[in-house]
Symmetry: C2
Subunit: 265 residues, 2 copies
């Protein structure tokens, strides 16, 4: 699919790109199983990818009810990750692993979410976008987590905004409003970039511009009659509800460079 | 003055450097008068340096009473700058300028505080320190202000923390505590770097490590019997109250590289 100038004109007015991080910029499903395999060092064959997918689901199930609350503790994300891990390790078919993991090993596993690898295009795309606009995280993590990841994956954020800094978790509208206020932008002057439909839809409902990125690990669940959720998300030009759909951050860079180049000419 | 290994051993345990920004990293007194001279374009001779010094004093007088309050608005710093400017322009000997400046010109002047130049060593020192530790702002500004400045002066912050993000202004102890919590560090694992005695003393009182930088524009007021305030600040090894005193950020980099190099060897 190639984006048309009608689709992309909104980008000329965008001063700030807000990025979701895990899944959108980072390949968690490729990163964590590899590290677990080495650190946990269990001889028996373990499907670490399945384990990590279930861990992430357990994490989300604990986080989601908190999104409507008004205050969060700094560092709470690591605590929620640990609680989700403990739940998983006490439940079949993983409880045999639970018997083998002491406190230190569990904390080491939580820290793996601070050392996720970027998708192949992430670092170079952020360096390119940074020349044209402010690039900021806007994600449900801790500040230290995203700072550690930025050093590990070479992500040159201009500013790191997180749910914990802004006082709550996405998709709570207050969080998007707080991010806009801190960057002194109107909704039309900024753009949420995410690989999750719930996130771009929550931002879009406030008038924020939206770019949806199809990533192979995200929004893979089936939607009745529409294939995978990631395929069902469509740009407004095709009757959908987001401003632009891209297959990679490289594609977003090409579009931004075309639009910003045209605006400067 | 050359720092000894006794003075500098504390740096081995430091994971995060928090920097004050305006005055410590940026030369406001060299930057704003130059821009004012061009933009305001008044034919009569005006002592713009004196004007900007008085503006900064008026700003501080408005900010200081707010430091003990618990909440601040995003973008409030720009509003306080504008109020301080309006006060100045309504008072002799500047009221003749006040008659010439419309709303647009006044807002343009406020925006000059988003385009301050770094000291000659600031950018290269931050790039060097970033290899050894997390580098963060911790200053009484707005997020947008520091993001604009970082792009203008090429300051590669890992994270931008401001009074407005953390809910108050330095030297309120709550702000330093919040910064520590978001970076998941103990007081001994981080270090406040500032050219203002009040700031390093407030951080030091909480157990945070402290580096005082002597800058030619900061802490110049006379202290009875001790010369200028900046000269009266001394390291603990000389009976003073900060961990280290440096004449430049270059000097801090040399010390950190020596300590971290020795720790790695």
């Amino acid at each position: 699919m190639s984006s048309t100038s009608t689709d992309t004109a909104f980008l000329a007015g965008v001063e700030v790109f807000f990025f979701d991080v895990i899944g959108t910029v980072l390949d968690w499903k490729g990163s964590v199983p590899k590290q677990l395999r080495v650190v946990v060092n269990v001889e028996a064959a373990v499907d670490w990818t399945r384990f990590v997918v279930e861990w992430r689901t357990a994490f989300w199930n604990k986080l989601e009810p908190l999104a409507s609350e008004e205050t969060v503790r700094p560092g709470a994300i690591d605590i929620i990750q640990r609680e989700a891990l403990d739940t998983l390790l006490s439940t079949p078919p993983w409880s045999h692993l639970g018997e083998l993991w002491d406190d230190q090993k569990r904390q080491e596993a939580v820290t793996m979410w601070h050392k996720l690898n970027g998708w192949p295009d992430s670092s170079r795309a952020l360096y390119a976008l940074k020349k044209h606009a402010v690039i900021s995280t806007l994600a449900n993590g801790s500040v230290r987590q995203f700072v550690d990841i930025a050093k590990h994956a070479d992500l040159p954020w201009d500013v790191v905004l997180t749910g914990e800094l802004l006082g709550g978790y996405k998709p709570n509208p207050a969080i998007y409003h707080a991010a806009l206020a801190h960057l002194s932008v109107t909704p039309a002057q900024c753009c949420m970039v995410a690989a999750h439909a719930y996130d771009v839809r929550a931002a879009g409902a406030l008038g924020v511009r939206t770019v949806y990125v199809r990533r192979e690990t995200e929004d893979q669940e089936a939607v009745e009659g529409q294939g995978r959720l990631c395929d069902s998300v469509r740009p407004k030009s095709e009757g959908g509800d987001v401003d632009l759909v891209v297959e990679s951050l490289d594609e977003l860079v090409r579009v931004v460079e075309r639009v910003k180049g045209a605006a400067a000419a």
